[in-house]
Symmetry: C3
Subunit: 334 residues, 3 copies
């Protein structure tokens, strides 16, 4: 496929400047070859794009001068994603239910549903139209999967879980495992609290590879619409995650906590039990949240506190050996 | 099913106070509906239970006045777990060995054993009575699984592993992967140390989703009786875990360390190689244990130290910007 | 099998001292039985070996006196690994393609290739000679696996990934999952950036259980020759990992970062996006790398800094309660 820069600019709602070159692909600046288009948002990336082999660059509206043909748009990253999608051949096509798939009783299957080889779909499951389940899918009893959801190979969704529409789940993810709930007995051993609740995953959620999301003890664990979860994240029982939340890899959320809309949890952050993180808050990498966080606050450290304050404290901490010497000097003087 | 409060109190060895209402289910306070019973341990949870829609509440012996019918017991949380179990329909029933399960040579299978679809059981495995292996189980050569153990779908247990009785293993867990052992050669490359030991999991252990437990280099990695392991935990080769240990999600234990009975490791904690954690010790979330910890000590931070001391240090750390100003003032005065 | 100490010393290029005993196995000191050989590198381990039940010990060239027969070698740990390999029966043998394996179109299969039960190999995959794929392997379209590579049960390798020769991959690992890339839209929701790049795993890499390695957005994620990755590690899109890198369990590497040759990342360390870690650098357990690290530097803490400096700062931090008292005393005096 080959398209003129003009045609591409119409696809992304942008304006072109420079020669109306033909483009046959999309790539990041460092990998771009002749005939491809890349994008650049700010300073050093603009320079990198100018020096790249790309034949054209998607830039923001403010960029005036450039040594290559450009498409100017409001959000260059979004336009890049859109063109990448445009140029990418659809990787998956409707295949139907594979002869080796084991389908239980009273399973409802919509139009154009794919169930890959060696999948197991238990009794009472419901698959909406255009659902694509790759090889080795496991769906427990009464699981429902909404229209257009896509599971990569080897996804495990346990009994009673509800998955919304256009949800993407990556390989190795486990949704609906038992919550980690025990009562300590007098002899020091633990008694298992039955975990009889379930998991609700709302529309347009994406769940990474080898993630685990536990079912509620009673009631539900809920992942809000549009939330994106990276690989190896753990979400405990009865957690409520809002809409458009981002959780980077290796984050852990303990039981019954709630995460507001639009919250960002950076890599390896952790959240203790029964706390609320307000909408729009941001939790730095490796931070540990131990109490409620107000909306829109940026917190870091362990225990997690206002990041601006943490930075001031950290700056003084780095000077501690010098500070100790100053105290020693003062003690000699006094 | 519907039972009177009196009948339920007998099941959990408690005493009732208030109307002998009929109860048809069990739920946490926030989810409880009319006709259901909930539980409450302390102050704010008692209030929450009073305000809930529950028709009755399990409370501790000390609670005298309450605005709903109650069952008084020594351990409300335990009674809650027992009633939850009582009201929960058994999710799994004996299904036998599925026709698609591949069973190797010299495999011994006890009474009432279930082996789910698309499972592979290698030569010489031994399955005790009432073992339940869900879909996609993999058991390596010579693996033994004790009576009444339950595997959720997609558990991988590699060659030679011994699993005790009434063990529960969740989806995606891998037991018996190679230890991470290499010798650095002069050219900077690594030579793999064969990992020929095995893993022993004692009775009543529970292992979470996507956990990994490595086999020993030689000898054994051992998980003691009654220990509970949350999701995404890593346990390295030759680790010895005692009885009734609790490991919360994303904990990592390095090679050859030993964890005493009753130890609690909170989320994302880590333990370095060749250290011993004494019985009853507690390791705070995100703490990093770098040397031996005496019994019953509560440690936090990295490197992990006595938590009481760490708190005093942290309190002063937060005052560092102020402390620096005080030093500057002193310097001007002197 | 039984070999004289002399014969074993020739296998590892060492010299013997003491009685030429017969040896029938290899074990770590704490597990060694009579008739077995163990190894010891330094002080307390030498003592442990002397007190063990082992009949002989591999030691370094410097060891002169010892109460048991010894083999002296340059690298005792390496000799131990070599003898362990020598005494270990080959666990796996050529089995061919199992009748239940589903093999796509245009798949090229070399000599002596094993494909285990319930595996799925998609169209266009290429398997080199002596490749061993255990049960439940998933290979996506166009995946290539080089000569002699070994996959434990339940490995997932997604479309387009290239795996080198003599690579070992453990159960539950996912190679080629989508990178975590989204563009925030004006309404707060996220637009998925298609992930159309791939993963290249070079020769002699080992990848642990339940690891996830994401494909590149465009271009490639690359794992260099001889690199060893422990369990539950996350490697994001477009990361470049050099040769002979070691990553201990639960490490996370964010997008587009590069890790130089011979770098060691200890357990639960993390690396932010778009940073470079120089060759030979070492990152302590739980450290968080937030900016470029020069070659050969040992860093710790968060943000990760020169470890020697961090230790000095930490030492003063532990004295903060005392320091505060000294300041208070000064204030009274002045």
């Amino acid at each position: 496929m080959k398209k003129s820069l003009k045609e591409l600019s119409e696809l992304v709602g942008g304006e072109i400047s420079g020669e109306n070159v033909f483009i046959k692909g999309v790539a990041k600046a460092e990998e771009a070859k002749e005939g491809e288009i890349t994008f650049a948002v700010s300073g050093r990336f603009l320079k990198k794009a100018e020096q790249s082999k790309a034949s054209a660059v998607i830039v923001s509206l403010e960029v005036k001068e450039f040594n290559k043909p450009i498409i100017r748009v409001k959000n260059p990253r979004l336009a890049f994603a859109q063109l990448l999608e445009f140029f990418t051949p659809q990787r998956f096509r409707f295949l139907g239910v594979h002869t080796t798939a084991i389908i239980g009783k009273n399973v409802k299957i919509g139009q154009r549903v794919t169930v890959g080889p060696y999948s197991v779909v238990e009794d009472g499951a419901i698959l909406g139209d255009d659902v694509y389940l790759s090889s080795f899918t496991y769906l427990g009893r009464g699981v429902s999967v909404g229209k257009g959801s896509f599971f990569h190979p080897r996804v495990t969704v346990l009994d009673g879980t509800s998955i919304g529409e256009r949800v993407i789940i990556h390989s190795g993810a486990v949704i609906g495992s038992d919550g980690f709930g025990f009562v300590k007995k007098e002899d020091g051993s633990y008694y298992k609290i039955p975990q009889v609740g379930r998991v609700i995953v709302e529309d347009e959620v994406e769940i990474g590879a080898n993630v685990s999301i536990d079912r509620a003890t009673t009631g539900e664990t809920r992942i809000g619409k549009g939330t994106k979860i990276d690989n190896l994240v753990h979400i405990a029982h009865n957690v409520k995650v809002g809409e458009n939340v981002v959780m980077v890899a290796l984050v852990g959320i303990s039981g019954s906590s709630s995460i507001g809309d639009g919250v960002i949890l950076a890599g390896q952050a952790g959240v203790t039990e029964h706390v609320n993180i307000g909408s729009g808050a941001m939790v730095a990498a490796k931070a540990g949240v131990t109490k409620d966080i107000p909306p829109n606050l940026f917190v870091s450290g362990f225990p997690a506190r206002n990041h601006a304050k943490q930075k001031r404290i950290k700056a003084v901490t780095y000077r501690l050996p010098e500070i100790l010497k100053r105290i020693e000097r003062l003690e000699k003087l006094v």
